[in-house]
Subunit: 97 residues, 2 copies
Amino acid sequence: MKTEINLGQDAQQIQIFKALADPIRLQILQYIKQTDHPVACGEVGRAVNISKTSGSYHFKLLEAAGLITAEKIAREKYVTINWSTFETYVTNFTQRL
Amino acid sequence: MKTEINLGQDAQQIQIFKALADPIRLQILQYIKQTDHPVACGEVGRAVNISKTSGSYHFKLLEAAGLITAEKIAREKYVTINWSTFETYVTNFTQRL
DNA sequence: TAAATAGTTCAAAAGGTTTTGAACTATCTT
DNA sequence: AAGATAGTTCAAAACCTTTTGAACTATTTA
């Protein structure tokens, strides 16, 4: 009996690595991390110098991967890093492999 | 003094996540890991059911990312997982971010 | 209420990755 | 030496991701 990752877990793992495999998304995560409190998408987008359309696309991917969590307050959308996803899928990746 | 990723390190980080963001390459790594000794590319390729051209492409990417190490012995190329790259860029990613 | 701000959606264009088959080099077997 | 096996390279095709601008919704400010 071979220990193997099932299809569902593997798909999520790939979605996470894809989300992380992009310079803009890494900058976004770096920015959110260093502010260390929920921050509006617009502020992050301005900090990393991207259009709001492009920002919307990147935030959607990060959220879909479970790497960030978003809360909409009135006009703005505040994002936070989801450390537990990082723990499970990134930090503990080699054990899961 | 803030610990930040410089451009060169960031590029390597992205190359690593790109290499990991693919189901075939994850299967390749899983196979190499579970044999737990250097294994020929042909054997891995057969195990994960890909053409030799496609295998050659994927092994090249994994090696370029530093995730595997290859040694050519006569006709065959034997691959091994480079655990130190995983440690630095995957396991310790959140600290580096 | 009009204008400004925050963000989303859509489709097209631009750009990047992966697969394919054919042709190739090198080594091994008969 | 001829044929089989291991792997590489190349260019084209197929496929996938990202950026762009315009049009949109919802909230806030004047």
